[in-house]
């Protein structure tokens, strides 16, 4: 029996009821996998929020140490499992940097191409789930219609749709299949119209704006303090993009813009991602135009051995933010230590700051806007 102090009139809850604790997830339709939040709510208002992670922990970083460099690429697929190509790219990029391998231009173009297609497919999945979380059901099916085409392109290239395993240290394992370039060009040519279609359903929709404008404010200072990257950072007015700041592969040859919006809310993060898809289309088109002929694999030893001493960090711009790998070599074919820096892990940490004081419905919108993938958070 809880003693209720009737003299405490500052509480405006009826009957002096205590705040309620809710376990939000790991089995909940809106937690995008197995995110668990311990919520303390006062009616609909969130008083406290504590994310609990680790339900998808698979010891990936330990696994890296047990396998040679080139066998580790499939492990990276399972980190951010909706954006495997950029995971691959960050890992093989780090290995190449460590071993001093220079990738031939055709392979480099194909990598750029694949990571931009991956960005499109990842953002489409984000839009689908974000919209369905906020209650708009139809965009889900529209985006999946286009995502299917992207996945088909991936499947044609490497045989897999999700866990691509499509890059190797030193270059690309396969060349583009016959007709792939035309099919890809056809898709990206028609894609901006489809983005208009999604935006027609959402961007100026009054209910959509009511649910997202001014919700989940993430100030630029806080974003920097928490090392938030990617669209979340660019929605808070800081135009940091690894593709521009530390160009890798062919990004320094590409002509594209980095969208930045300044209102720091869920709506602006939505706008950032919508614009990023359009920019990705531009990059893909340029890659397809410029695609050179040439070898796919650099000259490299059959067994990759790291130098005795040396560590390296290589980061790329994944759809969700900066993904990087820090690799320490010890002269063996296995990495001595390989640490991933998945963007979702950093982006989810800022969640409590964004939701406390809001409503439960806002929490849903904010989880959607962080675009978290628990495979990458837990590793």
């Amino acid at each position: 029996m809880v003693e209720v102090d009737s003299s405490d009139l500052s509480r405006d809850t009826l009957f002096g009821v205590e705040e309620m604790e809710i376990n939000f997830g790991p089995q909940h339709p809106a937690t995008h996998g197995v995110l668990r939040l311990k919520l303390k709510v006062d009616g609909e208002r969130i008083v406290d929020c504590y994310p609990v992670i680790g339900y998808l922990h698979r010891g990936t970083e330990k696994l890296f140490e047990l396998h040679p460099f080139f066998q580790n690429v499939p492990h990276t697929d399972r980190l951010d499992y909706v954006a495997a190509a950029t995971n691959n790219l960050a890992y093989v990029g780090a290995v190449e940097k460590l071993l001093g391998i220079v990738v031939p231009p055709r392979a480099s173009y194909i990598r750029t191409l694949l990571s931009e297609l991956q960005r499109i497919s990842s953002h489409l999945l984000w839009l689908a789930t974000h919209a369905i979380d906020i209650g708009a059901m139809t965009p889900f099916f529209y985006t999946f219609r286009e995502r299917e085409v992207v996945l088909d392109l991936f499947e044609e290239y490497c045989g897999a749709r999700l866990t691509l395993n499509c890059m190797r240290p030193g270059g690309q394992p396969y060349d583009l299949p016959v007709g792939w370039v035309e099919r890809c060009a056809e898709f990206v040519g028609g894609f901006p119209e489809k983005i208009d279609e999604y935006e027609g359903l959402l961007t100026e929709n009054r209910i959509w704006k009511k649910r997202t404008v001014g919700i989940g404010i993430l100030s630029p200072e806080m974003a920097l303090d928490y090392a938030v990257t990617g669209p979340m950072l660019r929605g808070s007015g800081i135009g940091l993009d690894v593709r521009k700041a530390m160009p890798y592969e062919m990004y320094d040859q590409m002509d594209f813009d980095v969208p930045v919006f300044y209102n720091c809310d869920t709506y602006d993060r939505y706008l950032v991602r919508m614009e990023e898809m359009r920019q990705s289309v531009r990059i893909v088109q340029q890659c397809l135009e410029k695609l050179p002929e040439g070898p796919l694999m650099a000259k490299r030893p059959r067994v990759l051995k790291a130098p005795k001493e040396g560590d390296v960090y290589h980061a790329v711009e994944a759809p969700k933010g900066e993904i990087g790998f820090y690799i320490v070599g010890d002269g063996t074919p296995n990495p001595h230590r390989c640490r991933g820096r998945p963007p979702s892990f950093y982006n989810i940490q800022v969640l409590p700051e964004m939701v406390v004081g809001g409503r439960i419905a806002d929490l849903i919108a904010v989880i959607g806007t962080t675009d978290v993938v628990l495979g990458a958070v837990d590793r």
């Binding site: 809710i22 809106a30 529209y142 209910i207 009511k210 649910r211």
Partner: protein
């Protein structure tokens, strides 16, 4: 004496009983096929097929669904309040079906009450509709509370707040056709639209239209449909008040939602869109729309049905288009916009009516 008794029994017991059965069967069929149509139409809107496995074009899907739901285990959670948990779904479906007793599906007959197209005509029909409709909220509230689940309880609380808030503008908007007709009998209201020669949605322009709009928006909120489906907001509260329900009890909640949709649409059709009347009942040259070649009353019933189906389509269309409101925004909309607008409509109609006298 025997003859008189037989006649009375026939008119006041046998015929109404048969009509009740007919109404329930027809409405349950409409409900079953509304769920089917919803899935098909949503499929069409969302570039997919919708159900197409069971029977031709998936037409037997609703039956398969019911059979499946009947075969499901009926789980009652630990520490649930059993009587309330069991009672709640009935409290949702019961009132919704009860309202059907006063809805005029078709015109009255000159041959007497036995051959008219409604179960009964109560002279306080509209009041009865409003009174019974408000019972439905108990089902949601009790169901949410009795499940012993925090998400259910929040769903139930949302349902209670939402439905009670939206009953206010709904009640006010119903006063407008009431003022126009001068009677509470639903049959009387439709007949008034015939004698005045216009549907009440066009009456006292634009106040009839305004009242209709308010009624329909509140109706969507009352039946907890998108964009006001907060009590069962899937992404927020798992499934809201019916999170713990399974099997046929869940189906009853589902049934209740659709029955509510139909009842709200039927009341809207009766009060604002001329019930069984054809469009523009004042224009002689449109009288071919009365479909005189059909048996008496059937044409009226068909018109009623068409209007009802249009409403149901709009409900489904909403679901395919809109995101969901937030709880406090929903309350804002109700109290700050709909209630003042409804009051305006009532006051303006009253003044207009008095000025005409």
């Amino acid at each position: 004496m025997v003859e008189f008794f037989g006649e009375t029994l026939y008119v006041y017991a046998v015929v109404p009983f048969l009509k009740i059965i007919a109404a329930i069967v027809v409405v349950l069929t409409i409900i079953a096929y509304t769920t089917f149509a919803e899935r098909k139409i949503l499929g069409f809107l969302q570039v997919r097929m919708g159900p197409n496995r069971v029977g031709p074009w998936g037409l037997l899907q609703p039956i398969a669904d019911v059979v499946k739901l009947l075969g499901k285990e009926d789980v009652i959670p630990n520490r649930a309040v059993v009587w309330a948990y069991v009672l709640a779904p009935c409290l949702v479906v019961g009132p919704a079906l009860l309202i059907l007793s006063v809805i005029p599906f078709g015109p009255p007959s000159s041959a007497g009450p036995a051959s008219s197209w409604f179960i009964t005509d109560v002279n306080v029909g509209l009041l009865l509709v409003v009174a019974i409709a408000s019972i439905g909220v108990y089902g949601l509230l009790l169901g949410g509370w009795a499940s012993n689940n925090k998400f259910s309880m929040m769903g139930g609380l949302r349902a209670a707040a939402q439905m009670i808030s939206y009953e206010v503008p709904q009640g006010f908007s119903l006063v407008v056709p009431l003022l126009m007709a001068g009677t509470l009998s639903l049959v009387g209201i439709v007949e008034a639209q015939l004698t005045q020669g216009r549907w009440f949605i066009f009456g006292f322009f634009p106040f009839g239209l305004l009242a209709f709009f308010i009624y329909f928006v509140s109706g969507v909120a009352e039946s907890n449909r998108n964009p006001f489906d907060l009590p069962e907001a899937e992404s927020e509260l798992v499934a809201g008040f019916h999170t713990e329900y399974s099997g046929m009890r869940f189906a009853l909640f589902f049934l209740g939602e659709y029955a509510n949709m139909i009842v709200i649409s039927a009341v809207a059709v009766t009060l604002f869109l001329g019930g069984w009347l054809r469009p523009f009942p004042n224009l002689e040259w449109l009288s071919f729309l009365d479909l005189g070649f059909l048996p008496p009353g059937l044409a009226g019933f068909l018109w009623f049905l068409i209007k009802l189906l249009v409403f149901l389509f709009v409900y489904i269309w909403f679901r395919g288009t809109f995101p969901r409101y937030r709880f406090d925004q929903l309350m804002d909309l109700g109290w700050k916009w709909l209630i003042p607008a409804a009051l305006l409509a009532v006051v303006a109609t009253s003044i207009w009516k008095v000025a005409l006298l």
